[in-house]
């Protein structure tokens, strides 16, 4: 039986947010090729929508770029008006990349220890 752990996506991938109008895009990029299948399975439109549900986005679209082991999420109407009209602190939504990286992800323990990030991680029991 494969032992799995639950870790934040932050341990498996890096991300960057960009804004245009009331639309945000967040890239999610695997740190290691070996982690790509897990990221592909776990980081879905539904999960990203859940992480931002309190902002009531109108749509979440996931684009897959296998050649660079990256996902690109396009999230509409999540910036509460956009850079010039929002009442919020971070009106560009630049910090929201790390909201996505907060997602809990299930990873096989062996895979986690094999990847380059393992030296920086403490494996927690699932």
């Amino acid at each position: 039986m494969t032992e799995t752990c639950t870790v934040p996506l932050h341990h498996l991938a890096h991300a960057r947010a960009g804004d245009k109008g009331n639309r945000l895009n967040v890239s999610v990029i695997a740190y290691d090729d070996a982690l790509w299948p897990v990221i592909l399975t776990e980081v879905t439109e539904k999960r990203v929508a859940e992480a931002l549900a309190h902002r009531h986005p109108s749509k979440v679209t996931r684009y897959v770029l296998p050649k660079v082991q990256a996902l690109n999420f396009v999230i509409d109407d999540v910036l509460e008006g956009g850079v010039n009209a929002s009442l919020g602190l971070d009106t560009h939504g630049k910090g929201l990349a790390f909201r996505v990286l907060e997602l809990s992800v299930q990873v096989p323990a062996q895979l986690l220890s094999k990847t380059r990030m393992s030296v920086k991680l403490k494996i927690k029991e699932g």
Partner: protein, 456 residues
Amino acid sequence: MYCIGSGAGFSGDRTDAALPVVAEIAASGKSGAIIFETLGERTLALGQLAKRRNPVLGFEPLLEEIVSPILADCVAAGIVIVGNFGSANPSGAASVIHDLGKQQGLHNLKIAVVEGDDILGKIDLAQAERWDGDGRMGEPTGELIAINVYLGAQAIAKAISDGAQVVVTGRVADSALALGPLVAHFNWDWQDLDLMAAGTLVGHLLECGSQISGGFFADPGFKNVPEPENIGFPIAEVEDDGSFIITKPVNTGGVVDLRTVKEQLLYEIHDPGAYLTPDVTLDITEVYLQEVAENRVLVRGARGHTPSLQLKATVSYLSDWRGEAEISYAGPNALARADLAIDIIERRIRRRGIKAAIRADIMGLSSVFDSDDGALRQNELLRSDLLSDLRVRFAFVSTAEKEVRRAIQEVTALYCCGPAGGGGIRSSLSQRVHTHSYLIPRESAPDSYRFWQPSL
């Protein structure tokens, strides 16, 4: 090979970034250009306002500080300077650069000014289409102060082919700043869409300056960046076939590798198969990246499709007023006092009949991720009595400046009337420029350039 370097990725960027880039390109002995991107979505509208108050202004406020250090070296090495720092007054910017040149003993500088982006008064917005990315933003309110179209690279390329040493633009597609010099140098065919895509990709990767060379990247322990106080801005070494290497100057901090290139590759991209620019629709789905040496990444595989019949325009309105006011609570029971301060202000706003929208955050508990209604702030799972250094932030918005001032006043009054131990009140007030995006027929906005002359 042609070298394109970046000297700035936005208005407000480090003004000492260009020096190492220019030095590196000059030392290479190759032909090259350096681009400056200093025009955000609303920066141009602010320039428009500045020009209204004083007709000689309206260009990038830090223009002299950005250009002065590198002007003579660029001219000596034949490195073309291309920047959208013209903003709302490209002609005014050209005049400043001309004067800088004279001060540095550079006479007869050939400075080109690209025009055609400013179409205020020349178009009926009722005939134009709203861009769908604005979504639920709502109808614009306030005074219409600017309409600027994202122009393509053709006028930039022509100006350089005709001998321009400096090209000053207003609003152009950011990637055009690089595509223009590339077409001028390699004499690429505008109809060769894959080459247009390659040049556009060069621009897309360079347009945010250090974001591809270690800027906006460090995440200590996960992504480490050497010498972040001295990040080398990027240089693209481009070949005739459109392939290129992204690198940075020697003896600078920062890093260029697959991770940094991937983050910039996808920045502000929506559908990766169809990134719309005036000169080509860029498809990055087949892009191939390879680290060929330390801080050198090879980029290939950009594909181009037919450009849209429409151009994107930013329409700017001088609109409502936003006030921000903050107060801190620390030590035992800080969260309860912070909550109470919010409750008090909400009651005061109602009691005094102040007509302003209000949002409250508790920084240290929930602010960056939260929504206007404070959903996360009020989430029991996130709250803890252990939080002991909190800053309450209020934002107030109204079309009437007076109402926002009244709201800010209520926060200031917490010094005597509010919960115990509140301190560090700061507030600010400004009028906002709202921008909306429209799609207009290409023919409505032809671009052109002219060489700047002193008398004009």
